[in-house]
């Protein structure tokens, strides 16, 4: 005899509050990703608790609510129960006294154990693949030489290795301009050469004074004679001398580096993104944003597409 499943009256779990609580937990968890790790933990707890109750409700509900009351005690043989339970009862196959058959247990435990083992093996492997791209991404300050090497009002092309261990692949280029004094403090404009379109290296639009180039440790400094701005060789993006986009595909101004001065030396610091710059030189007003990948709007309605930036 085979179990008869009644498809016309499928077993539908009754309405329950647990899924709603589970959903709330997931939402709290996601919000926590932005707000704080404590909130993540709280959300995970809520989701786990309600998820457990939900699953328990689903798995036990059927046998509790629909177990046939007329079934004979310990009736294991199909013929005995077959007579007592009408054929249209969907749960007729679940013989009382055999609520959880061994084969079912073995099947589920094999799946469960396999899942646990697979998870234990793959979780660290996937973490190893993904996490290093996002952890310890800070940029170290880099010494690019005495500030006296930077003549006032002129851009100097500074090229250096940001990480000597990595070699050529860590080469960075910055356009450094001494703006003179601002409120008694030296002022510098340090523009990144990463095009704000898709990251190609922008070039100064104007001649370089290569013979007067200098070398300071690993940094090569080549002054420009007079430049009209910056241009990108890849897709023709053009910028003025403050890094504002003047034409072409870029979506924002060129990124800049923060700087610090220690013992008379200029240090390149963390990069940040710029939507646009008002004014010029030391008095310019820079509209700063956290560093974004090239091609991403940092302000305006398009920036809603990039609500979260990975840790840079």
């Amino acid at each position: 005899m085979q179990p008869t499943h009644n498809d016309e009256h499928p077993h539908v779990p009754g309405p329950s509050i647990w899924p709603a609580g589970f959903a709330v937990g997931v939402v709290v968890l996601l919000v926590g990703l932005i707000v704080s790790w404590y909130v993540v933990g709280l959300g995970a707890l809520i989701a786990l608790a309600f998820g457990f109750l939900w699953v328990r409700d689903l798995t036990t509900g059927s046998s509790l609510t629909e177990a046939p009351a007329v079934a004979p005690e310990g009736g294991r043989s199909e013929s005995a129960t077959g007579a007592a339970i009408p054929a249209d009862r969907g749960e007729a196959a679940a013989v009382p006294g055999d609520r959880y058959p061994r084969s079912k247990f073995l099947e589920l435990s094999t799946l469960g154990l396999g899942g646990v083992i697979g998870g234990l093996v793959s979780a660290p492997a996937i973490g190893f693949m993904v996490a290093p791209a996002f952890l310890k991404q800070g940029v170290k300050d880099h010494d690019i030489g005495p500030i006296t090497d930077y003549p006032e009002g002129k851009f100097v092309v500074a090229t250096y290795m940001s990480d000597a261990n990595q070699g050529e692949v860590s080469r960075r280029t910055a356009f450094v301009r001494n703006n003179g004094q601002l409120n008694g403090q030296p002022s510098f404009t340090i523009i990144s050469n990463h095009c704000a379109h898709l990251g190609c290296p922008v070039q100064p639009n104007g001649p370089l004074d290569t013979p007067n180039g200098k070398q300071y440790h690993d940094v090569s400094l080549i002054p420009t004679i007079s430049i009209a701005g910056f241009g990108c060789p890849c897709h023709g993006g053009q910028y003025d001398t403050e890094g504002n986009r003047t034409s072409g595909p870029p979506v924002r101004a060129l990124d800049r580096y923060s700087f610090s001065i220690r013992n008379g030396n200029l240090f390149v610091g963390k990069p940040y993104s710029v939507s646009h710059v008002d004014g010029a030189g030391s008095g310019a007003k820079i509209h700063k944003w956290t560093l974004a990948f090239p091609g991403e709007h940092v302000n305006g309605i398009e920036s809603w597409l990039y609500p979260i930036q990975p840790p840079h």
């Binding site: 290093p132 996002f134 991404q137 990595q166 070699g167 898709l198 560093l291 990948f293 991403e296 979260i308």
Partner: protein
């Protein structure tokens, strides 16, 4: 035919070929499986356009074979990558040929995928019951393009470096998860020493494995569902009776010999 006498040389030869095949067949069913795979019924009026799928598969095999050999000489390290490519091209025997096959074969693979896709579209071969195979094919197309993207960086010259910078940043402009995808691809905020080996691993291990598995699924569905008739065909696909492996003779003989076709051809 003559009455049973001393077996001729031809018969002896046939016996010598069939004996090991029968041995394998009896223990594994492999010969029958291969016959089932190769001697399928197809509509009588299929044409050359329906070879584009096999051609794409062949291109993939060429890429896999030449890629494995190139991996014996290539060094996925920023300091050595470019010089090892120069070494392969200029110094090693037939290195220029194998690298050329891989480099041009990549384009052939991509072009054939698109042609195959166009054939399937124009013949309406994506319709019921073959929708799932279309979906798998789209996944294969994406994987193939991923192979092209990750493989392009490996020569580590100016073109490939900046093309990859641009490609990664295009990924970065995808909404919401784009920045994370870009940072995952380059293994950090900027392209760094790990980016090249990361691309190499994706190019030669991750995606080819997935492609091989998906091709297996793709062909399983082709065999299960049969080849589509061309749009102008009077014959419906897969309607003919499936040919059963020949059952005449004993188990020891005749297992591998092709049976006659039902329609006498």
């Amino acid at each position: 035919m003559a009455t049973r006498t001393k077996p001729t040389r031809g018969q002896q030869l046939q016996e010598a070929i069939n004996y090991p095949l029968d041995w394998v067949e009896e223990r594994s069913g492999l010969v029958g499986g291969i016959k089932y795979f190769l001697f399928r019924k197809v509509p009588g009026d299929v044409n050359w356009f329906q070879t584009l799928g096999s051609a794409t598969f062949t291109a993939f095999l060429v890429q896999a074979l030449t890629g494995v050999i190139l991996a014996m000489y290539y060094k996925p390290d920023p300091k050595d990558a470019y010089s090892s490519i120069q070494h392969i091209t200029n110094d090693i025997f037939a290195g220029w040929l194998v690298r050329g096959m891989h480099r041009w074969g990549a384009s052939v693979f991509i072009i054939l995928m698109f042609m195959h896709m166009g054939r399937v579209f124009l013949f309406g071969a994506y319709k019921f019951p073959r929708e799932l195979n279309w979906i798998i094919g789209v996944l294969l197309l994406a994987m193939g393009l991923g192979e092209g993207f990750t493989g392009y960086l490996l020569p580590w010259d100016q073109t490939s470096y900046w093309a990859t910078v641009v490609g990664i940043n295009i990924n970065g402009t995808a909404p919401f998860l784009g920045p994370f995808l870009a940072q995952f691809l380059q293994g950090g905020t900027y392209i760094n020493a790990d980016t090249l080996s990361r691309f190499y691993a994706i190019h030669m291990l991750m995606i080819p494995g997935a492609i091989a598995a998906l091709i297996g699924l793709h062909m399983y569905l082709v065999i299960r569902l049969g080849v589509t008739s061309p749009p102008w065909s009077k014959e419906a696909a897969g309607t003919g009776p499936l040919e059963q492996p020949s059952q005449n003779g004993t188990a020891r003989s005749g297992l591998t010999r092709p049976g006659t076709r039902k329609d006498g051809r």
